[in-house]
Subunit: 235 residues, 2 copies
């Protein structure tokens, strides 16, 4: 009986997340209410608050679930034998960008909200949740690169934490690019974001002891494509 | 008349901050209430909420004011002619640590709260406020080092932002060391914090294009001294 109850509440939690995802992706995060999510999932107030205390919790849980799903889709690249650690990082980054572009309109509807000034807390919560999912795999790649003599690093875990943390330093540039979408400042903001991503790549290279320009966080045209897809959707 | 009113409200804001500082330093942040602060400053509820919407706002404003005051005390080192950029950074870091040790019990009473898990938002708010105060001076030092050919960097502003941001990656190690104070895990947590600060220094070196171990974020004994001073106070 115990087990059955446990399973039932887990299922309900998954259904709440599925409903939140569908609504955040279609209507957008801001336009979705907790009442909408409960109604769609067919879950009572009590059932909802058993699992989540606010809409923010759902977005955080959704980000962690999507990160875990992305890792599953990236599994072939993460396990492909012939790749050295540098090639593996760049293959992972390239595929992540492709996944993001495919889902760009839905992702932006759900997650653009975290780049608003009033949601900086939520941004950090999501970043932390996603980092926890990604960390073990990133540590494995750093261990590989250290063993191959490619990365000049002491402790793969600390280095992985530092680099994942560094990702949050691009937040303001992303926020400005999103805010400028569809305005005369859009081009300038997209250029600034690209430059910031390039600098972020160089900082990562150096922390790993690699030549500048090795790790490709920046790809010409990606920021514009990710921003434009959604601009078209908004028309 | 207008000017006089403006001046009066600025004075009141300063008095609220002075009172908050005195109470946070003596009783600690958590034990101080907004009512305590209003009473000490002799300011009404209306007067308080004209300037601040919560106790957190006072801590943020206090952190920014203390950062600006520290910069004033560091002015001689910041302007001393004979120092190259590396010597200047290390002199600033050394003096900052000395100032922190002098005020350690008061600083910890006021600011340990931001390292609690429930206050992560407040931590990021304070970090952002302090970074804005420190950024222009740090950019100046990076420009100097670039001109001297010591720092291998493109854009001093972006690099300064990245390095200041990187500081927040030490948060969890600081939090664990504070939490472990006075427990059997204290030694281990202090060692882990030292190692984390050393790694943070190396990441900074590399982002600036310097040999590992150049920028001295880590100083043997500092973490223990900063943690111990307060432990003694708590006895």
């Amino acid at each position: 009986m115990r087990k059955w109850v446990k399973k039932a509440t887990d299922v309900r939690k998954g259904e709440l997340l599925d409903s939140a995802q569908a609504l955040f992706f279609s209507k957008g995060y801001d336009a979705t209410t907790v009442a909408d999510i409960m109604e769609r999932a067919g879950v009572s107030k009590g059932g909802f608050y058993h699992h989540f205390s606010a809409k923010e919790d759902l977005l955080e849980a959704l980000a962690a679930r999507m990160a875990a799903e992305s890792l599953k889709r990236l599994q072939p690249v993460l396990e492909e034998p012939g790749l050295d650690a540098v090639a593996r990082i760049n293959a992972v980054l390239l595929q992540s960008r492709q996944l993001k572009l495919e889902d760009a309109p839905a992702i932006r509807a759900a997650f653009d909200a975290i780049f608003k000034p009033e949601n900086i807390v939520l941004y950090h919560r999501l970043n932390r949740a996603v980092s926890q999912v990604v960390l073990p795999l990133f540590v494995d790649i750093l261990k590989q690169g250290k063993a191959e003599g490619l990365f000049r690093i002491d402790d793969p875990v600390t280095t992985a934490e530092i680099i994942l943390h560094l990702g949050t330093s691009t937040r303001d540039a992303v926020a400005r690019a999103i805010e400028a979408t569809g305005t005369p400042r859009a081009e300038e903001a997209a250029d600034a974001l690209d430059e910031r991503l390039r600098q972020h790549g160089i900082a990562t290279d150096r922390i790993l002891g690699l030549p500048d320009g090795t790790v490709a966080f920046f790809e010409p045209g990606f920021s514009r494509a990710a921003l434009a897809v959604s601009a078209k959707k908004a028309e």
